[in-house]
Amino acid sequence: MISVNNLTKMFGDFKAVDGISFDVAKGEIFGFLGANGAGKTTAIRILCGLSKATSGSGHVAGCDIITQSEDIKRNIGYMCQKFSLYEDLTVWENMELYGGIYGMKTKDVHLRAEQLLKEVDFYEHRNDLVKSIPTGWRQKLAFTVANIHSPKVIFLDEPTGGVDPLTRRQFWSMIRKTAAEGTTVFVTTHYMDEAEYCDRVSIMVDGKIMALDTPAALIEKFGVSSMDEVFRNLARNAVRNE
């Protein structure tokens, strides 16, 4: 579903993303880990067609990331690191807006929105203004909105930042349910317990992918007992410090 080959992004002399390559299969939950400033968000933005790669190639949902960025956008959902739903619109209005933007018929938007909101027990709050909703719920809503048009791939950039443990757990059950329905989920996180929910994870250090495997295989390879220690082993050698 995603395949990337030697992807590089330069900002001036600075290599934010340094020749990364990987493949993600359909329905997979792919954890994209890395310390702050490792280049995760830059890489995600290239895959979503928000930023141009300096070199390298790749495909997302069958479309070329260099030449077909607008076609990619039709097939993906993206949840930004910074909360970016319209706070002065209601939950329902945000869903109508994004459903409409992806060319869905109003009737279909309403059906899908009702189904998704009922799944997270938020249907009765559909007419609340987004600005009045607490952080944990906002993140769940942002995910729901990113999923409104049934995309082939969903990119989640630190979706659980600042979210309490209970809501995080609920959030991950949403992710797993979505993946079980055949949607590929590409997720970045700082929480290593979350990394263990992923089918496979990659760990980025200083713009390069230093490790890529299933969590269990990585733990075994590094001879440690948890993903947390795997991450610390790798991130310790980082030069970039932000």
């Binding site: 910074k82 739903l85 002065d88 933007i101």
Partner: protein, 366 residues
């Protein structure tokens, strides 16, 4: 079309929920039309006159009382001689000195002596208009005096008749200009603020990652403010008629068509500037610079014809120049669309040019 409709519905919902905007777009035209015409007037009133009267005859007394009675001139003091009057002028207490030479009254019967007017030119407008008013007042006064003594009235009197703005009411001249200023402010600033706010809040990221067409998105920023501007235009025109009795001499449709094109131009410029900048400060600074240039160079306040040639050439590259000329011609002179077809074509051309530029400068992929 469905996407554009969705986006416009979103803009309208946000606008209605904004605690400030709906009030602003109603208050703004009210303020401008009710207050500004009284201020933006070029009638100079309250010109302070000092008289150095060396003559002290009944004639000079008549002149003094005539000046005292004038609506525009204000008699500030009588002086024994010119130097003491000059001292007052230098202090800024008076704007004009009228010097009546000794024996002036007597000379009226034969070849009159010359009276002198001295004006403070620091405020050029006040100085030149003031001395003109004073001259007219004197001329009238002399004519009356000669007539009362059965003498012939000098024939060299010039009489001016004003067409198109018969009452010479400066408010009437300024109202079309004030309406244009309103369109520039509302039509230029609001879309720019709206768009750059989306950048600052980060909501535009979610739009950029969607397959939305850049023309549809740009239009969704232009159309709502285009409607608001036309409503504001309506408010202004009705108020101008109710409060100042200013009716459109030409056709209302001629004004609406021009405004429709002009708003598109101005709003597109606002969107372009917002596209090119990252923060509110950048947008606002660029916008202020452009609007100031428009207001000063378009003939809104000072006629384009009296600018140096290079500035005239520049003025004809600016969209508002065509609008200012057009609005005054339709509003005061009753010109028609076919009289002003060049202006309409120019505005239409600018609308297409800037509209396309607005869509092109919107980059979904940084």
């Amino acid at each position: 079309m469905g996407v554009l409709r969705t986006l416009i519905i979103k803009e309208i919902r946000q606008f209605r929920r904004n605690p400030f905007m709906p009030k602003l777009v109603v208050m703004f035209p009210l303020m401008l039309i009710l207050v500004m015409p009284w201020i933006a007037t070029m009638d100079v009133k309250g010109i302070n006159v000092g008289i150095a009267d060396y003559d002290r005859s009944d004639i000079s007394q008549k002149i003094v009382s005539r000046i005292d009675a004038s609506e525009y001139l204000e008699l500030k003091g009588m002086f024994a001689d010119y130097p003491s009057a000059l001292a007052e002028l230098e202090d800024g207490k008076i704007d004009l000195i009228l010097e009546i030479p000794a024996g002036f009254g007597k000379s009226m019967m034969g070849t009159p002596e010359k009276v002198s007017i001295w004006a403070n030119g620091v405020n050029a407008m006040k100085g030149s208009l003031g001395s003109q008013y004073l001259m007219q007042t004197l001329l009238k006064c002399f004519q009356d005096i000669r007539a009362s003594r059965g003498l012939s009235i000098p024939e060299s009197t010039i009489e001016t008749v004003n067409f198109y703005n018969p009452t010479m009411d400066y408010k009437h001249y300024m109202i079309p200009a004030i309406i244009i200023m309103l369109l520039v402010m509302v039509g230029g600033f609001l879309p720019a603020i709206n768009l750059v706010m989306e950048k600052e809040l980060g909501t535009i990221e979610q739009i950029n990652v969607s397959p939305v067409n850049r023309f549809a998105f740009t239009l969704s920023k232009l159309i709502p403010f285009w409607i608001i501007c036309l409503i504001d235009l309506g408010i202004c025109m009705v108020l101008a008629w109710l409060v100042y009795g200013l009716d459109v001499a030409g056709s209302i449709w001629a004004i609406l068509l021009a405004a429709a094109l002009f708003i598109m131009v101005i709003s597109s410029i606002g969107v372009i500037l917002a596209n090119l900048s990252e923060t509110m400060q950048q947008t606002m600074f660029l916008m202020l610079f452009i609007i100031l240039t428009f207001i000063l160079m378009s003939g809104l306040y000072t006629p384009v014809e009296s600018m140096p040639l290079w500035a005239q050439k520049l003025a004809f590259c600016l969209p508002p120049t065509y609008m200012v000329e057009l609005m005054r011609a339709v509003y005061l002179k009753g010109a028609t669309i076919s009289d002003l077809w060049i202006n309409y074509v120019a505005l239409g051309g600018f609308a297409v040019l800037f509209g396309v530029l607005a869509a092109i400068t919107y980059k979904k992929r940084g």
